[in-house]
Symmetry: C2
Subunit: 247 residues, 2 copies
Amino acid sequence: MTYCVGILVREGLVMIADTRTNAGLDNIATFRKLHLFQTEGERVITIATAGNLAVSQSVLNLMTEGVRDPETGELETIFTIPTMFKVAQFVGRAIREVYRVHGKSMEQQSASFDVTMLLGGQVKGGRLRLFMVYSAGNFIEATADTPYLQIGEHKYGKPILDRAVTSETGLQEALKLGLVSMDSTIRSNLGVGMPVDVATIRRDALAVEVSHRIDRNDEYFMDLRERWSAALRAAHQAIPPPPYGRD
Amino acid sequence: MTYCVGILVREGLVMIADTRTNAGLDNIATFRKLHLFQTEGERVITIATAGNLAVSQSVLNLMTEGVRDPETGELETIFTIPTMFKVAQFVGRAIREVYRVHGKSMEQQSASFDVTMLLGGQVKGGRLRLFMVYSAGNFIEATADTPYLQIGEHKYGKPILDRAVTSETGLQEALKLGLVSMDSTIRSNLGVGMPVDVATIRRDALAVEVSHRIDRNDEYFMDLRERWSAALRAAHQAIPPPPYGRD
């Protein structure tokens, strides 16, 4: 499994991804799922991936090596596409190209062609945007009403986001909330594990602001986990006992 | 969907169930999923159900009207079985009997034979126990290591239980934590909805202690929701901002 979350607030974008991959419980490894493509001052793009690792690695390779534009015939890469909307279409085309090459054979072997990606970033002259791209290559975009998107094992970490994240949440606060959401997921699902990669991009900065790997020795994250646990304990202890009897 | 949770602590047993059923988003209704079978001073048994409503209603009817014991040929009901372990086997037999009558036809119509039940209670002379019975009629039991069992849409409400519930948690505290878990689930999944039925059984009391339906006007539950939200807000606000930069 995997858990990745992207949060798009007025101040900027937060992307968080775990690094655990597994093919069965007895085959666990660490792979980076959060990827950064940056030409400082011109574009900053991050992609988080969930699903079949062979598929997502192929898609990432295609995006940097290039995919031919079906109309112009030109070789495009993630560093040349002029707008974020076109980048989302490009990611979709790369996924469909991998499906064309491997999809049928995978299905013959009962391996599901399963990949979803969070794509966030900004190209000079355009807006900072956040998309979720599906296995079919189609995609949706986060909006002010629903400022976060999740892929992978999303349910355990959703309640805190539902309660606390709005598009007016500050960038640092959004990063904190994303880490709380990741912590809840790691505690409840063995398929999601440390280290955790985080990135933040401030709106119109056209450069990554935070790009950091949180490992088991990370003091801030360990402190956040402890504070959150202690606060939850205090919170339910402070609620008065239920007054119910037999109706 | 459905969300039901049973928590077995040293002091007793908590059972909580929502009441929403749906066959598609445009066909939503309220059905009781928490059922009580009591002969005060002799036995107190509660059952919470998830899955296909036609199946779970048939199973409940069989349990009160009676199923023939395959060995003795006698008609047994949930009020006559002598131990909780035998009650769990009996619930399994009732599920298999419903499968025998309806299972094949349901599968022909692409309806899945899908039912899970939480069974908790005590029969005089035996222990207070909590089981989860599967569609195949087999079952597992909660233990001191894992004192709670969930059926239905269980992921949203699991983190708080993972963090806070142990077998030493008090009965009233366990009820509170179960309600927090239900609140998180209701907020994140439209298929789980009010009213919520709760029951508690104190160990060796052989009678239900709390049996209550929480509706939208329930002051305690509304207060719990507000306090919990406010405490979560305060909790993440109190965590210092992340110190991360570019590695």
